[in-house]
């Protein structure tokens, strides 16, 4: 189970440098995030992490000598309430507005911040729209664009795992899925003698992908890697079916399958790779991540949760 919460808190800190120019003796960060409704499960861990970092900064004397103050408003996982929550934190003096993880649910609050000339920050949206395209020049997201993940997986498997033949399996359900495969498509031609031996599509809700599996099985040789562009909940079933059919190719994914909560559904899964921004298993190469995990556990009593919100982003 991995998490990008660490990055969220780091980036929030980094972005705070901009509004720090404000001429009062404190910097106000407004959280227009979900405190109730289904988005709460996604927003809360990232917000907890940000609060830990803000506490650390304040304890160390603040940012540029100014203490960070936090104001909240609940979006109730509702778009119209999201716009109100955005206005509410701005009214309370926010210099920076942090909005819900998902683009669809964070956008109304981000748009209010944008029209007030303030910086807005999605906790972990991975849609290309969560930024300049969908909000405006003052908007950012703490997570990595889906296409970057697809491109990274192609390059990493080529360089580190020696993969040469690839199969591309796209779940056409969301833009997030398409984004991963778009990045993969962009990266593959740049890798010398890497070939795409086949491609196929399915839908997240498909109960069976037997037809697609048959086509993979009928290839003259099993591909080195399958780029699986999908997300929950259909991902588990697809992975299970691929392995059950005896296909042992390396499976590459986007962060949509991050997390350990579903692993019991596919026992003994191996040769399976996911791009993430940090590890909670104590084996992260960055010592700061391990230190953060400990701080998070102390503050909240649990491991950092997987950032599953991005699966909703389309």
């Amino acid at each position: 189970m991995k998490s990008n919460i660490y990055l969220t808190s780091t980036l929030i800190t980094a972005t705070l440098a901009a509004p720090a120019i404000a001429q009062d003796d404190k910097i106000v960060v407004g959280f227009a995030t979900a405190e109730s409704g289904f988005m709460q499960a996604y927003d809360k861990p990232a917000q907890d992490a940000a609060m830990i970092r803000i506490g650390e900064i304040n304890a160390a004397g603040g940012l540029l000598g100014q203490q960070i103050e936090v104001v909240n408003a609940d979006t109730k996982t509702d778009r119209a309430e999201g716009a109100k929550a955005g206005l509410s934190v701005i009214d309370q003096g926010a210099d920076l507005v942090v909005v819900s993880c998902d683009y669809d649910f964070g956008a109304p609050a981000a748009l209010t911040a944008e029209s007030a000339g303030l910086v807005s920050f999605f906790l972990c949206a991975e849609s290309i729209k969560a930024g300049i395209q969908g909000v405006g020049p003052h908007s950012f997201s703490a997570s990595v664009l889906a296409a970057v993940q697809g491109a990274t997986m192609a390059q990493w498997s080529y360089e580190k795992k020696g993969a040469r033949s690839y199969y591309r399996l796209l779940d056409t359900w969301t833009e997030y899925n398409k984004g991963i495969c778009d990045g993969f498509d962009w990266a593959l031609p740049q890798l010398a003698d890497a070939t795409l031996v086949g491609e196929d599509t399915f839908k997240n809700e498909d109960a069976s992908i037997a037809a697609q599996i048959t086509r993979i099985k009928s290839l003259p040789e099993e591909p080195d890697a399958i780029m699986l562009c999908t997300m929950m909940p259909g991902a588990v079933s697809a992975i299970k079916q691929i392995r059950a059919a005896g296909i042992n190719s390396m499976i590459l994914n986007g962060s949509g399958v991050d997390g350990s909560y579903w692993l019991s559904a596919v026992p003994d899964l191996s040769n399976f790779y996911v791009p993430v921004q940090g590890s909670i298993y104590g084996d992260d190469p960055n010592p700061d991540v391990t230190a953060f995990n400990a701080a998070y556990k102390e503050a909240t009593g649990g491991d950092p949760r997987p950032n599953t919100s991005t699966r909703v982003t389309s």
Partner: protein
């Protein structure tokens, strides 16, 4: 002709009182000067428009419609098509015809056209649906909603499918919404006292006698359906401008049930009921949300647990309906408090 004028004069009090109520809300928002509160009042006005739109058909015909949210969806997306900057339309909605992509109207013109667009579809759907009666008609309107939702959730090039459509100009002043809500109230009033409105209510109460008197029921229903579709379309367009984002799932079951329950709690057979239902429930929702967020009394802070709002709202609705099964207003309208003996002719608006 003179009889018509006198009906109008006798019943004019109702829309005037309702408008005064709405103006009072707008003034409170204006004086409060708080941005989130302003947005809350805008939300209330939007709901007034939608519930009054729903009343025009449901109240007068007696047929419960589950499909009117579809017209809100049509109106909201029409507003997006008409008012977004052409650059954004090119990238987000590449399937729009060129003339529409190049067009960028002010929001009020967009809202008028959105209302006409919704009315057009109400006419097409209504032509078939209005031949049905009772529960069959209700379920048929629900089927219409499901169709509209499915099309808008999948037509990638034209509606952006399930993605949020952004770039719709945001209007944050309360006045356009107030004007639209008052307009909706007057449209509903004018329809109710018109020949067709009276005929429709007659048919609602006594279908057999009405048919025997020569009332063409499908035709009268169709007129109400189109008028209410137009009001819903206008509401949808303004909804889009109030938050600047539209997605198909906003205009589905959630909105359908909240608008229907506001109408039922207020009183299905009365225009005043439609407006009062929205105002009472909205004020209640807002008060509970404030309590959830926490109120400081003296030194201690008092806050309800999250989620109490939804539960309390349900309980209050049950209580209101248990005490007043016909809704807060029943079938009566708000009028000037005049000690006039009840006049049978007055049933022009009181039925």
């Amino acid at each position: 002709m003179s009889a018509r004028a006198s009906v109008a004069r006798r019943t004019l009090a109702t829309p005037l009182i309702l408008s005064a109520l709405l103006v009072a809300f707008a003034l409170v928002a204006w004086f409060a000067g708080s941005k989130p509160f302003n947005q809350t009042v805008i939300d209330i006005f939007l709901r007034v428009i939608l519930v009054v739109g729903l009343y025009i058909f449901v109240g007068n015909s007696g047929v419960i419609s589950f499909g009117h949210t579809g017209f809100v969806c049509l109106g909201a997306y029409a507003a997006a098509w008409l008012t977004m900057p052409p650059m954004m339309k090119q990238t987000l909605l590449p399937g729009l015809p060129d003339w529409l992509t190049a067009l960028q109207l002010p929001y009020w013109a967009g809202a008028v056209l959105a209302a006409l667009w919704a009315a057009l579809w109400a006419g097409l759907f209504g032509k078939i649906l209005m031949r049905l009666s009772g529960i069959a008609a209700s379920i048929a309107t629900f089927a219409m909603l499901a169709m509209i939702n499915t099309i808008y959730s999948n037509w990638e090039d034209v509606t952006g499918a399930t993605s949020s459509v952004v770039g719709i100009p945001i209007v944050r002043t309360v006045w356009p919404y107030l004007i639209a809500a008052i307009l909706a109230v007057f449209i509903a009033w004018a329809h109710a006292i018109s020949r067709t409105g009276l005929a429709l209510r007659a048919a609602r109460d006594e279908p057999t006698a009405a048919s025997a008197s020569g009332i063409d029921l499908p035709r009268e229903r169709l007129i109400a359906f189109v008028v209410s579709g137009a009001v819903m379309g206008m509401g949808g367009a303004l909804f889009a401008h109030s938050i600047g984002v539209v997605t198909p799932d906003t205009f589905y079951l959630g909105l359908t049930f909240i608008t229907l329950s506001m109408l039922v709690v207020g009183g299905m057979g009365s225009l005043s009921g439609a407006v009062v239902g929205v105002l009472v429930l909205s004020v209640l929702i807002q008060a509970l949300r404030w309590l959830e967020a926490g109120v400081t009394i003296g030194a201690s802070k008092f806050a309800l647990p999250n989620g109490v709002q939804e539960i309390a709202l349900g309980v209050v609705m049950i209580l209101i309906l248990a005490r007043r099964p016909a809704g807060l207003m029943g079938n009566s309208e708000l009028t000037w408090p005049r000690a006039r003996p009840s006049n049978p002719e007055q049933s022009g608006n009181q039925d």
